[in-house]
């Protein structure tokens, strides 16, 4: 069996070496790159989309002035969105919930999971601040009823309440809930929900395009050897390895 496998493997290698792969030289490839038409306007839009989606409201405003690119969303809504995000990042969850409801009450109404995660974050902040009694009361009154509706909420709730059982939370197996990354996770969830409610994509297009570039290069590798860009941050062509 293993001998057969080796033979099959070798055959495959021979086949690959036999030159079924097309080789494209740097010169040929550069000609192809030159023929590609990229419009400045489209790049500007891509940059604007990034600034807007990531919430760089000042930069977006400046970019509008400097490049004449119109943002694909009302810039004032970014400020509101960023205020909510910031509130969660700083642990002011109550404040964040109020702000989201001011913005659009439907966001939390139609998004029970997001609402639960915000409430959970509120509980985490109470525990972090050592407000044990308040935390227990909040868990029982606000979170437990929701847990009854949904099994995964219940498990999340149990994990969170377990934080109370440990005097030194560093020893608690669920200690990561107190980590800053949990706040960021919740914050980006709210951020995405607000963007979706504004019929805007929740992620900027640029990272998707970069991923697509890496994917497209991998796909093309199967059929051809050509100059690749291996390091996105310097965008330099590297000669094909034949």
């Amino acid at each position: 069996m293993s001998v057969l496998w080796i033979i099959v493997h070798q055959l495959a290698e021979i086949e690959a070496m036999a030159g079924s792969k097309k080789v494209i030289t740097r010169e040929e490839w550069e000609k192809k790159l030159k023929d590609v038409k990229i419009r400045k306007e489209d790049m500007n839009k891509l940059v604007m989309n990034f600034l807007v989606t990531e919430g760089y409201v000042d930069a977006a405003e400046k970019f509008r002035k400097e490049s004449g690119t119109e943002p694909d969303i009302d810039l004032t809504t970014i400020m509101d969105r960023m205020a909510v995000k910031k509130a969660v990042q700083c642990g002011n969850v109550e404040d964040a919930i109020e702000k989201v409801n001011d913005l659009n009450p439907e966001i939390l109404d139609t998004n029970p999971q997001l609402f639960f995660h915000l409430q959970q974050q509120r509980l985490i902040e109470l525990i972090r601040n050592g407000k044990v009694e308040e935390a227990l009361e909040f868990a029982q009154e606000e979170l437990a009823p929701r847990g009854e509706e949904n099994q995964s909420f219940l498990e999340e709730l149990e994990r969170t309440v377990a934080l109370l059982a440990f005097e030194d939370v560093n020893n608690c197996p669920f200690g990561e809930l107190l980590d800053i990354s949990q706040r960021l996770k919740t914050a980006s969830e709210v951020n995405a929900a607000i963007l979706t409610s504004q019929s805007h994509e929740k992620d900027p297009k640029l990272p998707s395009l970069l991923k697509m570039l890496l994917w497209a290069q991998n796909q093309l590798d199967e059929k051809a050897a050509y100059p690749r860009i291996n390091n996105l941050s310097i965008a330099m062509l590297e000669d094909p390895t034949v």
């Binding site: 097309k22 494209i24 550069e30 192809k32 790159l33 030159k34 590609v36 038409k37 990229i38 419009r39 400045k40 306007e41 489209d42 790049m43 839009k45 891509l46 940059v47 990034f50 600034l51 760089y56 000042d58 930069a59 400046k62 970019f63 002035k65 400097e66 490049s67 004449g68 910031k86 990042q89 700083c90 800053i180 706040r183 960021l184 019929s199 900027p204 297009k205 640029l206 990272p207 998707s208 395009l209 970069l210 991923k211 697509m212 570039l213 890496l214 994917w215 497209a216 290069q217 796909q219 093309l220 059929k223 051809a224 860009i229 390091n231 996105l232 941050s233 310097i234 965008a235 062509l237």
Partner: protein, 463 residues
């Protein structure tokens, strides 16, 4: 990405002219707007000319076929191809048949055949053809021996045949469900083909004029999703998008935006650290940032005289040749700005003084003509040369000047490419070239990649 324009070998001017000529090209590009999407013909009916006449009768609407004789041997199959080959500039092509009557033997088949297919044989029996047969449920690919594939089909069944160009596979369906797929190893145009081969066998063909039994939209959506999932799984280096946006702002001298962006990046939680690692070096694009920003602002405000003045003061080498492409673009822009504010007499005077000398020079001629044509219209903005009055034209001029200044950087490591393209542009070029090349190596089949479409769609990017 060579900056050197190939038709410049006859050009006696110094190298930096090549760079601004490239921008001249760009300004032409800007005038040709929108996607030119070539529509492809699709099959609409059966081809009654090239069918195995004598054995079958095709209905007057050319959408059904019936076997009217008694079959005697393997060479009297009633085969009909569609009137057009399956279109290829898409993710999937698909058509269906409805078996109205399975006749005496039910020897019906559906498949794809090449143009040179020998009529009177079942699709799949001959080279360069593929067919799913009703009487045995076997799949035939290029010879008389079938392979196990799916269920048999008979009267009342709806059977479909499709080509998935992305995976390069044929697939077949029965009553709305996929039966199976096989690799598509046939090159060139493929015609949807049906065959009947026993008395009274009759099938109706649906090239999409009726709703399909099979949910094609859903199938396509799932195929796209599969690809999207594998793209999303790829991980990017931390903050690489930030880095690319930042280098873009630097490259084009959008300094105010850059400062705001940097400020905000520092105060986010967690702060974004734009690392100088990975060989990322912004020295090249930091060059003369203030000057580039100032000139961009002047040009964007339409203050061309001031821009020219500053250029003469700061970078005389760029504007010393008054017949260079950079000067040409600036003079044109000055002319355009005069037209914009309605100072037509002054525009005429300026044109005679500064633009006339460019008449008859093949590289400049069409832009000069477009500029002058602005004078002919009462409302030039709505005319065919109205693009000149748009912001994008100012941007082209500003980008040219920006690139020219970058190219004067004595420390420029990559003098060929440094000034011309931002990192973002290089990446987008590479992306487009990869997608186009991949499609080319798949026999020019599948959806054509359009960056603009990806950017404008609210849906996810797709190659």
């Amino acid at each position: 990405m060579s900056t050197a324009n190939s038709n410049n070998s006859t050009n006696h001017h110094h190298g930096d002219r090549d760079l601004s000529l490239w921008f001249l090209e760009q300004s032409r590009l800007a005038s040709a707007r929108g996607l030119t999407d070539e529509d492809e013909d699709s099959p609409t009916e059966l081809n009654t000319i090239n069918s195995s006449g004598g054995f079958i009768v095709v209905s007057p609407d050319k959408l059904s076929a019936k076997y009217t004789s008694v079959n005697l041997h393997g060479h009297d199959v009633g085969v009909v191809q569609a009137n057009k080959p399956a279109p290829v500039k898409r993710l999937v092509y698909y058509f269906e048949i409805y078996v109205k009557d399975a006749g005496t033997k039910g020897q019906i088949s559906i498949g794809f055949t090449s143009e040179s297919f020998k009529m009177r044989r079942q699709p799949g029996w001959e080279a360069n053809s593929c067919g799913y047969h009703g009487d045995d449920g076997l799949l035939y690919r290029g010879h008389g021996k079938g392979e196990a594939f799916g269920p048999t089909y008979t009267s009342g069944d709806i059977v479909g045949g499709g080509i998935n160009y992305d995976s390069q596979e044929f697939f077949f369906t029965k009553n709305g469900a996929v039966v199976g797929t096989v690799p598509k190893d046939i090159k060139g145009p493929l015609f949807p083909t049906i065959a009947v081969h026993s008395q009274n066998e009759e099938v109706n063909v649906n090239f999409g004029q009726q709703p399909f039994a099979f949910d094609l939209k859903e199938f396509e959506a799932q195929e796209r999703m599969k690809q999207q999932m594998s793209i999303e799984k790829i991980s990017l280096p931390t903050n690489v998008s930030h880095q690319i946006v930042r280098s873009y702002l630097l490259h084009y001298g959008y300094e105010d935006t850059l400062n705001s962006f940097d400020m905000a990046s520092k105060s986010t939680v967690p702060p974004v650290h734009i690392a100088q690692e990975n060989g990322f070096d912004e020295q090249d694009i930091l060059f003369a940032l203030n000057e580039r920003k100032a000139l961009r602002q002047l040009i964007r405000n339409g203050e061309i005289d001031s821009a020219l003045g500053k250029l003469r003061e700061w970078y005389p080498q760029i504007v010393q040749d008054d017949k260079s492409a950079t000067c040409f673009l600036l003079h044109c822009q000055k002319f355009i700005e005069l037209v914009r504010v309605g100072a037509l007499e002054e525009a005429v005077k300026y044109g005679r003084m500064e633009l006339a000398k460019f008449f008859g020079l093949p590289l400049f001629e069409d832009l000069v003509q477009d500029c002058v044509a602005l004078l002919a219209y009462e409302r030039p903005r709505e005319s065919s040369v109205g693009y000149l009055l748009e912001e994008s034209q100012r941007e082209v001029v500003a980008d040219t000047v920006n690139a020219m200044i970058l190219s004067t950087n004595p420390n420029l490591k990559d003098s060929l490419h440094g000034g011309l393209h931002s990192y973002l542009e290089r990446l987008l070029r590479q992306l487009t070239a990869c997608c186009l090349e991949r499609r080319f190596l798949s026999g020019d089949q599948g959806e054509v990649f359009h960056l603009q479409r990806v950017l404008n769609s609210s849906k996810k990017a797709r190659c």
